[in-house]
C-alpha cells in the first residue's frame, strides 16, 4: 500500500490532478446532496403541529426515489457528516485509503439494509403510513403516502425553508414547457433557475439527478469491467498456454467490435433499464483492462517472489490475487479512472441517441432534447458542459496518475 500512497502524493503535486479531484468531489457532493438542493418538499416546516423536516423524512420513500441506487446516495447524504467526523477521529490510526474504504462500506451496508425486506408483516408502522396491501416482509424503502399539504398548502400558516431548486427532476409541469433560465412559474411563483425542458421538467433538478446517474453508471460499469478484466487478464497472464490463447482471442474480438454499437444493440434488445445499461457498459469494456493486467502478470510472474511462493506450495489463486495483484494496482487505478470517464460518456451518448432509461433524468437525455429543440441553447450547453467537465476531470486525474507512475518507473 505504501508505494501507492507515495505515487498518489507525487500525482497530487500536479495541478491537473488537484483540479480534477476537486471537480469530481464537487460532482459527488452535488449528486449526494441533490435531494436537499432540488426538492419540491420543504427542507424545514414549522407550524402549530411542531417542527418537521419533510425532505429528510422522504429520503426512503419509494415514490420519490424509485431506483435502488438513489437509496445508497441518500444513505451517503445522511451518513457523510458522521463519516467525516469518524475519519477525523481516526486520522492517526488508519491510513486515508483505509478510512475511505471503511466509509464506502458503511454507506453500502446502510443502503443495503434500507433495501432489504427487514420489517415483519404485522408491524404497526407498515399499516399506518404505507399504501402497501401485501402481507410480505417489507423494506424500509417502500411506498409511503406523501403529504401533499407540505407542497401545496398555504405557506403563511407555517415557517418554511424550501430547497434552492423547488422542483423534482421527473415531475413535469405541462404549462411550463421550454422556459428559459430564470423564468418564473406564474401559478406557484417558483423560479426555474436553469429553465425547463420540452416536457416542462426543471432543468436544474434534472442536472443534479443526472450527476447521480452518471456517477453510478461510471462506478458500477467500471467496477464490473475491472472485475472481469482483472480475472481474465490474471488467468491469461499467469497460466499461459491454451487459456492465454483463448482469452487473447476473446480480447481481440472485443477490441475489434465497435463497443458503442454493441452496447446500443444489447440495450435496444433487452430493455431500456438503467441497470441493464450499467451492466452492458461494464460487460463490453473489459478488453483493455484484461490486456493490461495480462501484461503486468507476465512481467511479474518471472519475479523471484512468485517462484518463492510456488516453492512454498502456495496455491495459484493465492499467488495471483494476494501476491501479484497488489503490484498491478497502480495501472489498474489509472485504467479505472479512464474507465469511469468512458462509462460516463457512453451512458450520455446512449441517452442522447434515445436509448437511455426513460424513467431517469440524465444529461444525455437533456442534450437530446436540446438537439430536438435546437434553438434552446440552455438545453445544449448545460448538460454538454456537465458531461465535458466530469469526463475531463476524471481524465485529468488519470493522466496525472499515469505521468506520476511513468516518472516513478524511470
Amino acid at each position: 500500500m505504501g508505494e501507492h500512497q507515495g505515487m498518489w502524493a507525487k500525482a497530487w503535486r500536479r495541478a491537473g490532478v488537484r483540479w480534477g479531484t476537486g471537480l469530481v468531489v464537487a460532482f459527488v457532493l452535488l449528486g449526494v446532496y441533490s435531494p436537499f438542493i432540488a426538492n419540491e418538499l420543504a427542507l424545514v416546516w414549522w407550524d402549530a403541529q411542531g417542527l418537521s423536516f419533510p425532505v429528510v423524512g422522504d429520503l426512503l420513500n419509494r415514490w420519490s426515489y424509485p431506483k435502488y441506487y438513489d437509496i445508497y446516495f441518500n444513505a451517503a447524504a445522511v451518513l457523510l457528516p458522521f463519516l467525516l467526523i469518524g475519519s477525523w477521529l481516526l486520522r492517526r490510526r488508519w491510513s486515508l485509503v483505509r478510512r475511505m474504504v471503511a466509509g464506502a462500506l458503511v454507506v453500502v451496508v446502510a443502503g443495503t439494509v434500507c433495501l432489504l425486506p427487514i420489517i415483519p408483516p404485522s408491524s404497526a408502522v407498515s399499516s399506518a403510513s404505507t399504501t402497501s396491501v401485501s402481507g410480505d416482509w417489507q423494506a424500509i424503502w417502500r411506498y409511503r403516502r406523501q403529504s401533499q399539504a407540505l407542497i401545496t398548502e398555504d405557506h403563511a400558516k407555517a415557517m418554511t425553508i424550501f430547497a434552492p431548486v423547488p422542483f423534482r427532476a421527473m415531475t413535469p409541469i405541462a404549462s411550463q414547457i421550454l422556459k428559459s433560465p430564470g423564468s418564473v412559474d406564474q401559478t406557484s411563483g417558483r423560479r426555474f433557475w436553469l429553465g425547463t425542458d420540452s416536457a416542462g421538467k426543471d432543468v436544474a433538478a434534472q442536472m443534479l439527478a443526472g450527476a447521480r446517474i452518471s456517477l453510478t453508471v461510471g462506478l458500477v460499469a467500471t467496477g464490473l469491467s475491472l472485475l472481469i478484466g482483472t480475472l481474465l487478464g490474471a488467468l491469461s497472464g499467469y497460466l499461459g498456454g491454451w487459456v492465454d490463447l483463448m482469452i487473447q482471442r476473446l480480447v481481440e474480438i472485443m477490441m475489434c467490435f465497435p463497443t458503442f454499437i454493441l452496447i446500443l444493440v444489447v440495450v435496444a434488445m433487452t430493455g431500456r433499464d438503467i441497470f441493464v445499461i450499467m451492466v452492458v457498459i461494464g460487460l463490453t469494456g473489459w478488453a483493455g483492462t484484461a490486456r493490461l493486467v495480462r501484461g503486468e502478470f507476465l512481467a511479474q510472474s518471472v519475479r523471484d517472489y512468485v517462484a518463492a511462493g510456488q516453492a512454498l506450495g502456495l496455491g495459484s489463486l493465492r499467488i495471483m490475487f494476494r501476491h501479484i495483484l497488489p503490484n498491478a494496482l497502480t495501472p489498474l487505478l489509472i485504467t479505472a479512472t479512464f474507465g469511469i470517464a468512458g462509462a460516463v460518456g457512453s451512458e450520455s451518448a446512449l441517452s442522447f441517441v434515445g436509448l437511455g432509461d426513460p424513467t431517469v433524468a440524465s444529461w444525455g437525455m437533456l442534450l437530446e432534447q436540446g438537439r430536438q429543440n435546437i434553438a434552446y441553447a440552455h438545453l445544449i450547453w448545460l448538460p454538454g458542459m456537465a458531461v465535458f467537465v466530469l469526463v475531463s476531470a476524471l481524465n485529468l486525474i488519470g493522466n496525472g496518475l499515469r505521468e506520476a507512475a511513468d516518472a516513478a518507473s524511470e
Binding site: 444489447v266 433487452t270 442522447f352 438537439r371 454538454g384 475531463s392
Partner: protein, 492 residues
Amino acid sequence: MTAYLFRRLLLMIPTIFGILCVNFAVLRLQSMSLTEAMSAGSGESVGERKVGAGGWALESKIDRFRRTGNDLPALINTYGFLTKESVVAWLRSTAPNAGTKDSVRNQREKQLWLVGTFAVHPLAEVLSDSALADLHGPASQALALCAYTSIEAWDLNRLSGKRIQQIQARNRTLRTLVIAYRQTPGQPFSTADEHAAEKRAALVALVADPENAADFNRSGKWSALVTKTGFYDFLRRLATGDLWSESRKEGAFSVIAQYWQTTLVLNLLSIGLAWAIAVPLGIHSARRANSLEDHVTTNVLFLLWSLPSFFVGTLFLHYFCTSTASGAPWFPNKGLSSPDNLWFSTPRFLVDLLWHGFLPMLTLSYASFVSLSRYLRGNLLEQFNADYVRTARAKGVNEQAIVNRHAFRNSSLTLITLSSGLLAELFGGVLIVEMIFSINGLGFLLLDAARQNDAPLVMASTVVSVGLLLVGILVADVLYAVVDPRIRSRYG
C-alpha cells in the same frame, strides 16, 4: 507479401466467428423478450380458451418468430426424437393441475407450439389415441400451430405457385380444426367442442395425407440435430442474405445496400482529415517539445479529447446550421448532398459534398486527430533520441530530411496501428454524427432499427459495419507491410 496477407486473413476468421457468436447471443436475448410478448398477447390461457378469429393473432406472432429463426433451439435440436410419450408428458405439464406456476406452464406451452414440424407426428398419435381424450384439445391446438407453415419472402421464388397454394389451403384448414377446450384452475383439461370427433379424425387424416407427408417427415432428425438450430439458421440466413427486416418490409441486406456507402465515404474522409491535421500538428509539437507553444497545444488537445462528440455536434448544429435573424445558416443541417445534386457538374457536386460534409467530418474526426497527434508526438520524441537520428545529425543531414525521411517514417508505423484501432471508435461514433446531421447512413439505419426492435436489420447492419471495419483493419495491415520493409523481407 502474399503470405503475410494470407496470414492476416486467417487471423480474422476466429474474430469474425466470435463476432457472429456475440451477435447471435444478442439475437437470443431478443427471442426471450418475444416469448414474453407472446405470453402477454394470449393472456386468456387460464380459464376458458376462446378459439375464434381473435385468438389467432398467435399464428402471426409465431410466424414472425419463425422469420427471425428464433423458434429454433440455440445450439442442438433434439426435437426430432420426440415420441408420443414425451409429448403426452409435455402436454400434461402444461395442464392447470400440473402443480407449477402459471408463468412456467405458459412458457412450456409456447415452447411446444414452437417445436414445429417435428412435433406433428407425435401429436397426431396423441390425437388418434382415444384413451387420451382430455389432451385432445391442447394437442389439436399445438398440432395446428406446429403444422402451420409460414410462406416467407424467399419462398415465393423457391416454391411453385401450386405448392404455395396447397400450403396456404392447409394453413386455413388447420385453423378450423382446433378442438375447443376448457381449462380451469386446479383441473385437468376438458374438451368442450361438439365437433371434437370430426375435427380429430380430420386432423389425423391431414397428417396422414401423402400430399403433406414430405413436409412432416422425420427422416432428417439426425442431421437436424445441428442444421435445424438457431445458430445454424442464423449463419445460413446471413450467408444467403435471407434476413428479413420486419419494420421496412424488405430484405435486410437490400435495405443496407442503400445506406452503407454513405457511412464508408464519411469514415474514409474523416480518417483522411484526421491524418491531414494530426501529422503536421504532431511533427510540429514534437520539434518544439517543451516550449510554451507545445504546452498550450498539449493542454488544449487534452481538453478537446475529453469533449464528447455529441455535444460538439449539437453545438455546431445550434450555431452554424440554424437560421438566425441575421440571415441564412452557414451550413446545411441535413444530409450529405443537396436534394437536386443529380444535375450538378462534377466540381459543383464535390463542393456541395464538402459543404455538407464539413461539420459531420469535423465532429467525427477531432477525437481521432487528437489522439493520433499525441501519439505521433510521443513516438517522434523517442525517435529523436535514437542512435540513427544522432548518426544522421552527425553526418550533417539537414533537419527537415531527418524528420521527414527518417523519424516520421518509423513513427508512421505506430500511426497505422493506431488508425486501425481508431476505426472501431469511428464506426461507433459515426452513428451519433449521422443522427445529429440527419445523414442516411448505416449508423442512422442501425439506430432506427434498434429503436423499432427490428432484430434482423440490427444484426445485418452490425455485421456489415463490423465487416467494413475488418476490411479497414486489413487495409491498415497492408499499409503496414508497405511501410515496414522488415515485414516484406520476412514474408518474401
